[in-house]
């Protein structure tokens, strides 16, 4: 390689880094209005819902309610409350919880997120491992019995909603067989997460398996694989070394929606299993009209999903340099 070519290469490299940086910067800027719209929408929607945080079976006297509204600034005009909320948010303060009077929303999120992360992360890991393996296997034995059984199972997995599946799993494995706990976190050991993780992962496993199968079949038919086969490379090396990486592209682009799916799924699963994560806070917060808690979870997850989509785009580019950012 002569010097000129090396310079050219280095130049291309810096140019690439620069586009990367400007890409990240542009994405960051575009995330701000997205987030603001999200916050405004969530703020408006929860205030539109009838009933308030201080409506209870035992009605509180009007003067006490007035004092409560004052203490939580609910007596101010909405735009002022919104401004107050944004100001707090900018300082990392999600405000006090209306329902759980001994806690702030920041504390609740700090307590609930690790639980949800563990649950969601394990579910995602399981979905990827099993989904990709099953999908690859089905692709290699296309139209065989294995393929049909795997794809039928996947179709069933996609079709059964998790709020039907989860109670069935509990009935079978906790109540009847007594192998696993029926709910809660117990002493915090992993065994308590087995059923929630499986319930959460199953629909994703099914989807990822189907995606992998389709993508893998396409890659296996491409010229470079045929060339590799012609050169006599062993089957395993062809699959793991050459076919898997390009076949993963649709999976990577599915990671964004999958994360969103796991998050929304966890709202149901955490409620069913009594797992104290953000999803459960969100459901209870909405039922209790705990305005700040619902807002907090929405904003937190909003930021998380925006960040995650950004990372997925980066990973996509890393896997396939042809992709323009």
């Amino acid at each position: 390689m002569d010097g000129g070519a090396a310079r050219l290469d280095a130049h291309a490299h810096t140019a690439q880094n620069r586009t990367m940086l400007s890409f990240a910067f542009r994405r960051f800027l575009s995330a701000i209005p997205t987030l603001l719209i999200l916050i405004a929408l969530a703020f408006a929607l929860i205030r539109v819902a009838p009933g308030g945080p201080f409506d209870t079976e035992k009605q509180i006297p009007p003067e006490i309610e007035a004092r409560l509204n004052e203490a939580y600034h609910l007596d101010e005009p909405l735009y002022q409350q919104f401004g107050r909320y944004l100001t707090g948010l900018a300082q990392g303060d999600f405000g006090p919880s209306f329902q759980y009077k001994d806690f702030t929303v920041t504390e609740l999120i700090a307590a609930g997120f690790p639980v949800s992360l563990k649950l969601g992360g394990l579910a995602m890991l399981l979905a990827l491992l099993v989904g990709i393996s099953v999908g690859t296997l089905a692709a290699l034995r296309q139209n065989s019995r294995t393929d049909h059984v795997a794809m039928a199972a996947a179709m069933t997995g996609i079709s059964i909603p998790n709020f039907v599946l989860a109670p069935l799993l509990v009935l079978l494995f906790a109540v009847t067989l007594r192998w696993l706990p029926a709910g809660g976190l117990g002493d915090g050991s992993l065994i308590n997460l087995v059923l929630p993780v499986i319930s959460l992962a199953l629909p994703q496993i099914a989807y990822i398996a189907r995606l992998t199968r389709g993508s893998m079949i396409e890659v296996l038919r491409s010229d470079f694989i045929r060339t590799a086969r012609a050169q006599g490379l062993p089957g395993r090396e062809i699959i793991l070394g050459h076919a898997l990486k390009p076949a993963m592209l649709p999976i990577v682009s599915y990671l964004g929606p999958a994360t969103a799916g796991i998050i929304t799924g966890s709202v149901v699963i955490e409620q069913i299993f009594g797992v104290p994560g953000l999803g459960r806070y969100f459901v209870q917060g909405a039922l209790n009209r705990d305005y700040t808690l619902v807002m907090g979870v929405v904003v937190f997850y909003g930021v998380l999903i925006i960040m995650f989509n950004f990372l997925v785009d980066l990973a996509y580019r890393w896997l396939d340099p042809r992709v323009k950012l």
């Binding site: 308030g52 201080f54 104290p276």
Partner: protein, 557 residues
């Protein structure tokens, strides 16, 4: 195979789970010092009377508690835990009988307007500080201070100047609660209040530990900060999961406490609770899924405990707008047309008592029933038809009415039953409308659109007044919007009456007016329902449904 056989097979698994919990809570050593079992009378369980080595209780506690600050708590889930964390002046026996608590005794003078409480010299906070009369003065002032934002302050209004202080019209120092010395507390009342001693068992009258409240402010009721004088201390609080309490070794009666650790699980869904109970993860439930009632009766009869509960399930009628405004005859007809026995036997089916009067059976009060409650079904229906026709309705011009209830299968079934009874007997056309809980509460309270609506009320203390005052014209809870000068006059007279007999007669007279006017239709009186594992001993159901963990114990199983 029945459930019982399965449970026996899995005993080992339970022991392992419990042992794991024990290791986790680090309590393995203290258990060896468990006191010998007290004489609890007859107790069941596979091993008879022998105590288990691991004394850990897993309790279902319904919704997540809003706070463990006794002066800001309002709900049942909070009350259950607070009873373990604090000892009020007046305690309860397992059966609900009032007994001395933090006060060893009391005297009343000045015709019931002045009480003097002798505090126990051996009373201790969980950090070792003595429990003094000054702590109670501080706490009751705090409970009534408008800045505390308590939603339940009105329960202490019988104390002199309490209402004025809570309205911000007088300084808290004017409260009629004084410490005569370190261990003598004086409470002055604004009027004779026969149920006052019972009120002192309510969490609003609990003492909080002044130094820790002053130091931690709004965060004093958190694990690590909370200092109590009850049998247990707060060890861990995982929001939306569980609250863990451990034995308070400084509790004055610690020697009689058997259970070392109790978990309160936050579970809103009774189906989930039931599954976890069957999986032996919960020892004691707060209720049962009503759909499973028959199955439980057949398969788990000896684990099911049911008892009368201080509550009324009723249908309110909005008397501030048509069709019920100025139509007592129509309202009576609607009440007469409802067959309560069918609802309690066929629908709720769990031993609820059909209600014809408003006030459930409470102490020192003669239950009231309208005259027609004694009639046969045919007579009732005939009279209902007559009054319905008198109100101007007929088959050609039927009454069209809306029933509002909060979204729930159980309420829906009852609403459907009532609407079909009204249809059959009187030809009424009903619309059923269900709303999500908070929406429902707001709709019901504003009275703009409601006609007939579902409601329930649980008494705050064991006295007829906690029900009677609901229909007082300016009560916030008076959702029918009923105003009756005679009723108000009788209740006011009752609240000032010092003679208990006369007081009861005044309230009974008031209830007869209420029943005749029918601004609400009583349907049934509640029962409390629990599933209790055979190895949980010492559980005694009572009308307040108050359970103290210190009275329970775990049998070997």
């Amino acid at each position: 195979m029945t459930f019982f056989a399965r449970r026996c097979e899995s005993k080992t698994a339970t022991v392992i789970v419990l042992a794991a919990l024990l290791v986790l809570t680090g309590n393995a050593c203290s258990n060896k010092n468990s006191p010998a079992p007290r004489d609890y009378g007859e107790i069941g369980g596979p091993s008879g009377t022998e105590l288990a080595i691991v004394q850990v209780l897993q309790k279902d506690n319904g919704a997540e508690p809003q706070t463990l600050d006794p002066h800001r708590a309002t709900g049942v889930p909070e009350g259950n835990i607070l009873r373990d964390l604090y000892e009020p002046l007046v305690m309860e026996e397992p059966d609900g009988t009032l007994i001395p608590g933090a006060a060893s005794g009391w005297t009343s003078s000045d015709e019931g307007l002045r009480y003097e409480f002798a505090l126990r010299p051996d009373g201790r906070w969980s950090n070792g500080d003595p429990v003094t009369a000054h702590d109670f003065v501080f706490s009751m002032r705090r409970a009534l201070d408008p800045a505390t934002l308590s939603g339940y302050a009105s329960i202490l209004y019988p104390i002199k100047n309490a209402e004025e202080i809570n309205h911000g019209e007088q300084p808290v120092e004017n409260l009629g609660v004084r410490a005569l010395d370190d261990y003598t507390l004086e409470i002055l009342l604004r009027g004779p209040t026969p149920y006052f001693i019972g009120l002192l068992n309510h969490s609003m009258a609990y003492a909080v530990h002044p130094p820790s409240v002053l130091e931690h402010g709004d965060r004093f009721a958190r694990a690590g900060n909370l200092v109590g004088n009850g049998a247990y201390v707060l060890k861990d609080w995982v929001v939306q999961s569980h609250i863990e309490l451990t034995r308070n070794v400084r509790f004055r009666d610690n020697g009689d406490t058997t259970i070392d650790t109790v978990f309160y699980h936050a579970l809103e869904n009774s189906d989930a609770v039931f599954k976890r109970y069957r999986a032996d993860e919960i020892d004691l439930t707060q209720g049962i899924p009503s759909k499973q009632f028959k199955w439980i009766r057949t398969n788990m009869a000896d684990e099911y405990v049911q008892s009368a509960y201080l509550g009324s399930y009723y249908y309110g009628l909005n008397v501030t707008r048509p069709p019920f405004k100025g139509q007592p005859g129509l309202r009576r007809a609607l009440s007469m047309a409802i067959d309560r026995e069918i609802i309690t036997e066929k629908l709720s089916g769990a031993g609820e008592l059909p209600a014809y009067g408003w006030i459930p059976p409470v102490q020192g009060y003669e239950p009231q029933r309208p005259e027609w409650a004694e009639w046969t079904r045919e007579e009732r229906h005939a009279e209902a038809k007559r009054q319905y026709a008198e109100a101007g309705y007929s088959d050609r011009k039927p009454l069209v009415v809306e029933i509002l209830y909060n979204t729930s299968q159980d309420h829906k079934r009852i609403a459907i039953a009532i609407s079909s009874m009204w249809k059959q007997v009187l030809g009424i056309q009903t619309r059923l409308l269900n709303q999500e809980w908070k929406v429902f509460l707001q709709t019901r309270a504003t009275r703009f659109t409601t006609e007939a609506f579902r409601a329930g009320w649980i008494g705050d203390y064991n006295d007829a007044y906690t029900f009677a005052e609901l229909l007082y014209s300016n009560n916030e809870q008076n959702d029918p919007g009923w105003v009756n000068a005679d009723y108000d006059r009788l209740l006011t007279a009752a609240s000032m009456e010092r003679d208990l007999e006369k007081r009861a007669r005044l309230m009974e007279q008031a209830e007869r007016i209420l029943l005749d006017e029918t601004p609400l239709i009583p349907i049934y009186f509640y029962v409390s329902k629990h599933l209790v594992k055979p190895w949980v001993g010492g559980f005694v159901p009572n009308i307040m449904d108050h359970v103290y963990t210190k009275d329970l114990y775990i049998l070997k199983h």
